[in-house]
């Protein structure tokens, strides 16, 4: 939990985070650092990492493999600047790649083009809540 203070999280915010995800009290320093590294790999700044983790404590519990699958899928599909995407809507990191894939395919089947769907989601990250 010391690592969370190192990120810049305040006492009040940590209290909120534990309410949403009590399991974060059991996480090791290495587990938290690994989650930070996944974000750094996608060009997240220190501030963006603070924003993402403090607003979405569930991210800390996700399996690293699932996060990597999500990141790879988003990049392969055409999303760029993932740091901006996650800073805008940190909850995207809680989704699985297959969920987003299904959502996108459903829209393609209704006649939309992939690049338009990607642009729509990228420009309006709250739409990921429809997934």
């Amino acid at each position: 939990m010391v690592e969370l203070y190192n990120i810049g999280i305040s006492d009040n915010t940590l209290k909120s985070m534990i309410e949403i995800n009590p399991e974060i009290t059991e996480l090791t320093k290495e587990e938290i650092i690994k989650k930070e590294e996944l974000l750094k790999k996608n060009n997240c700044s220190k501030t963006q990492i603070l924003n993402i983790i403090s607003s979405n404590p569930m991210y800390l519990n996700r399996e690293n493999n699932d996060i990597e699958l999500l990141l790879n899928y988003l990049q392969k599909t055409g999303f760029t600047c993932l740091n901006i995407l996650f800073d805008s809507n940190p909850y995207i990191l809680n989704l699985d790649s297959f969920e987003i894939e299904k959502y996108i395919n459903d829209r393609i089947n209704k006649g939309e083009k992939l690049e338009d769907i990607v642009d729509n989601l990228d420009s309006n990250p709250y739409l990921f809540q429809e997934v």
Binding site: S10, N12, T13, S45, L50, N51, S54, C81, P90, Y126
Partner: protein, 137 residues
Amino acid sequence: MGYTKEDIIKMTKTMPQIFCYSIENINQKIDDLVSLGYTKEEVIKITNSFSSIIGLSIENIKQKINFYDSIYIHQLVIEDSKQLMQSISLSYARYQYYLSKGIKIDMSNYHKLFMNNKHFERHYGITKEELLKKYNY
């Protein structure tokens, strides 16, 4: 707290995680927003339009509000709360880009900060990546 039954239904549909928060936690978030210069009524309006703000940390919210205050569009937070979702890095980069072109952003044209990415690129001939690299927050 000041929310109607309809407000609560709408908020919980948009943000079911709200059920995990204690009343104390939500009250703290409302107090935090009031401390940033909004009346309680304005905070109710903000959280009704953009329920996800309840889930954002106060560090995150402060950063966004401070930025929009610094460019004199404080009212944006009340009148078009959903725009708070956009990353400040992108808002800053676009703001600086417009300044470099002699375009001053105010409450009459703030939508320019939140333009669809493809539209911005087509209109101004600069990609999001180039913009963020040039104007790094």
